[in-house]
Amino acid sequence: MKKVLMIEDDQALQDVYKLALSDVVEYNGAKDGKEGLEKIRSIKPDLIILDIMLPGGMNGFDILEEIKKDPAVMSIPVLVLTNLDTEEKVAREIGAVEYLVKANTPIEKVVDKVSSLLKI
């Protein structure tokens, strides 16, 4: 089963994605940048779902840059799922393969994107 890591500080959103994705993937969650990077390196997920506004001094862009610097994990596709609707260009430049705005996207669309990125 493919592994997905969701870096998202809001527990309710983690819960709903755990529910939505658990049938098809192994779901992992991290609450901030530090935990996120640790889990990326230990779990080696097949896909990362990344929020941008995160607590703990490290935002989504910082994490994305860290990922792209580390040869061990740099090839893992990153899907940005955020509240910000103005940062798509920046996110894609740093290396995000997909950019979705939370409230404007039905959950089915997110699940479809995850499936297509994981080719399942």
Partner: protein
């Protein structure tokens, strides 16, 4: 006291006192009569009656008439001649008072040089001629004046009355206006010396020690320049008294020259009349100048205080913004003293981010004289802080008094910071709202994924939650959009735009709204349209807003037309609807934030009144113009919205340029 006053003010008493005084003055004057008992070279009653007519009005005519009649009757002549003379004297006063009131400022006749001159002509020449003519005629008809030359009598009469009018009237009017003696307290030495010198000079002249009448002139001139017309006329009175006393006693230059009492007195009266007229003219012009000077001084001080105490700072700059003058409030706003601030190139202290904009504003100010132009920008305080200022510049470079650009500004940092905090709050709050809304939405969606497991009412409930969530998402989006518009946070990225293609695109975007309102949209672009170098997002927002308004607030099942043309180098896009139109009153307010017409509120209660505001902001940013024309340009009811894009945005086009063949 007040009772006494009210009695004195009663017309009957006024007439009584005037008549009494007139008789006393007249009887005294007639003691000087030499040519004929009724014709004297000294006649102050004329001046007295003119002053009374000016002060109390024509209602005192009976007093003057009775006074003159009694004075003459008890002197010489019959009741008939006395009646004639009294009539002449009364008409004289009335004529003078009428003309002076009408053309020479009335009781204020001695405040303007030109009025003094007119007073001399009306009261000193015209009126005495009336009196003399009637008086001499009456005497002649009464059988008198058999042995005398009537012309000499007439002349004596005229000049006697003239000096009376020119000395006594101003004396009464000026002392009545200001009876105070504060001059004796304020400048005692000067006034006492001046008057003493005048007395001494008069004595020297008329006691034959130094018998040259003009010796009195420089002293009178000094009095005219140093004091008021009141002191001047008082000085003339001194000269008049001394001169008359001396001449009557066969002394002084006038007696010496003529050796004939009639002639001596006649020449003396002419001398006194001219003396009075000229010195009063000088005194009036000096007084006026002094008054104006003090007024100017007062106004100057007033303005200075206003500028210096105002929390608005003012500075004058030249066309390249060098500070020429800075008001003291500069210190409060920017920390610099005016001295430190003057001479500084003004632009050097503008925040680098604001500088390009301010250079543009300055160019505009320089290009449009007299027009006040407002801008908000940051300026460096002496201590290094950035101060937000609201600044208005007005080009008065061609004003001969100013020769500069007048700039006033004040500190709005606090307001700006508050505004910034508020905008940030809206922005962050709106973003943060998206997280819980997403959670609700996605959970509801997940619940609905397997519909078969749910009972129908539950499904309905979840669907309702989902629908509300969608509404909420839309509201949040609009809130963010609004806050971005208001704060100008959307970056401006100009790109080359195919206008026709872009408009067609926007028509597609509003197709569903048009369908819902049954509106048909027509757009036939001309074959060659220029391209616009413009921000794509803003341009489409403008077109979309205008189109949506035309559809929503135009006629149901009506039509909306779009036309484009290039005139005067400008691209003009007109969107026309065939709706009810917009009242002139509403047209003025359309571009205000949150303004909605009643019509619009009825049709769409949920609108925010920000569409046209935002559109106007965008058009301003483009350097373009938006205008509402209702009824339409073609005269039909409905509304034309005209968008004008400046030539600077139009780039080399498919349009054929006219070429000049040499």
């Amino acid at each position: 006291m007040s009772r006494f006053r009210s009695i004195v003010r009663h017309p009957l008493w006024q007439n009584f006192f005037v008549a009494l005084f007139y008789v006393v003055l007249a009887k005294w004057s007639l003691t000087f009569a030499t040519v004929h008992a009724s014709s004297t070279a000294i006649w102050p009653p004329t001046g007295f009656s003119i002053a009374m007519f000016l002060l109390l009005g024509s209602k005192v005519w009976p007093a003057v008439f009775v006074g003159a009649f009694l004075a003459n009757l008890t002197t010489e002549g019959s009741a008939f001649t006395s009646l004639g003379i009294a009539l002449g004297n009364t008409l004289e006063g009335l004529t003078a008072a009428f003309l002076v009131s009408r053309f020479a400022g009335g009781v204020n006749a001695f405040k303007l040089p030109s009025w003094v001159f007119r007073f001399a002509v009306f009261a000193g020449v015209v009126a005495p001629m009336v009196s003399a003519t009637i008086g001499v005629t009456s005497l002649r008809l009464g059988g008198y004046l058999i042995h005398q030359d009537p012309f000499l009598v007439w002349l004596t009469w005229v000049f006697g009355n003239m000096s009376g009018a020119l000395i006594v009237t101003p004396l009464i009017l000026l002392w009545r206006e200001d009876p105070s003696l504060t001059i004796l307290v304020k400048r005692p030495l000067r006034i006492i010396i001046a008057m003493a010198m005048l007395c001494a000079a008069s004595f020297l002249v008329f006691s034959n020690i130094f018998p040259y009448a003009y010796l009195t002139m420089p002293i009178l001139l000094f009095i005219s320049f140093s004091f008021t017309p009141r002191e001047t006329i008082s000085g003339i009175l001194i000269v008049a008294i001394v001169a008359t006393y001396a001449t009557v006693n066969r002394s002084g230059p006038f007696w010496n020259a003529t050796q004939n009492m009639d002639e001596a007195l006649l020449v003396l009266q002419i001398f006194l009349g001219i003396l009075s007229m000229t010195k009063l003219t000088v005194a009036a012009s000096v007084a006026r100048e002094r008054e104006q000077e003090s007024l100017v001084h007062k106004t100057d001080r007033w303005y200075k205080e206003l500028i210096e105490k105002s929390s608005d700072a003012v500075c004058l700059i030249d066309a390249d913004a060098t500070i020429l003058y800075a008001s003291p409030s500069t210190k409060q706003v920017l920390g610099y003293t005016p001295k430190e601030f003057e001479g500084i190139p003004g632009l050097s202290l503008v925040h680098p981010e604001d500088l390009p904009r301010i250079v543009k504003v300055l160019t505009k100010v320089v290009a449009t004289p007299n027009e006040p132009i407002r801008a908000e920008f940051r300026y460096k305080h002496k201590d290094g802080r950035w101060i937000w200022t609201e600044t208005t510049g007005r080009n008065l470079l061609s004003d001969p008094m100013i020769h500069a650009i007048v700039v006033n500004y004040h500190d709005i940092t606090e307001a700006k910071e508050f505004e910034q905090a508020k905008d940030d709050f809206i922005m962050i709050a709106a973003h943060q709202l998206r997280t819980p809304v997403s959670s609700i939405r996605w959970n509801a969606e997940l619940l609905l994924r397997d519909k078969t497991k749910l009972a129908t009412p539950v499904k309905g409930g979840i669907q309702a939650i989902l629908d509300s969530t969608h509404t909420m998402v839309r509201l949040i989006d609009e809130l963010l959009e609004m806050s971005k518009i208001i704060t100008g946070k959307i970056a401006y990225k100009p790109e080359l735009l195919d206008v026709a293609k872009s408009i067609k695109n926007e028509i597609r975007m509003v197709a569903s709204i048009a369908k819902a309102h049954g509106v048909r949209i027509t757009f036939t672009p001309p074959p060659a349209l220029p391209r616009l170098r413009i921000d794509d997002i803003r341009f489409s927002r403008v077109i979309q807003n205008i189109l949506t308004n035309a559809i929503k607030y135009g006629k149901y099942e009506g039509s909306v037309g779009i036309s484009t043309e290039v005139t005067d180098g400008q691209l003009v896009i007109t969107v026309s609807d065939d709706g009810a139109g917009i009242s002139k009153e509403d047209q003025q307010r359309l571009f205000r934030k949150f303004f909605r017409t009643e019509h619009a509120q009825k049709l769409d209660p949920n609108g925010k009144g920000l569409g046209l505001y935002a559109t106007k902001q965008y058009m301003d940013a483009f350097g373009g113009q938006i205008s509402i024309i209702s009824p339409r340009k073609d005269g039909a009811p409905g509304t034309d919205v005209e968008l004008r894009f400046p030539p600077s945005l139009l780039t080399n086009t498919k349009q054929s340029k006219k070429e000049v063949n040499i």
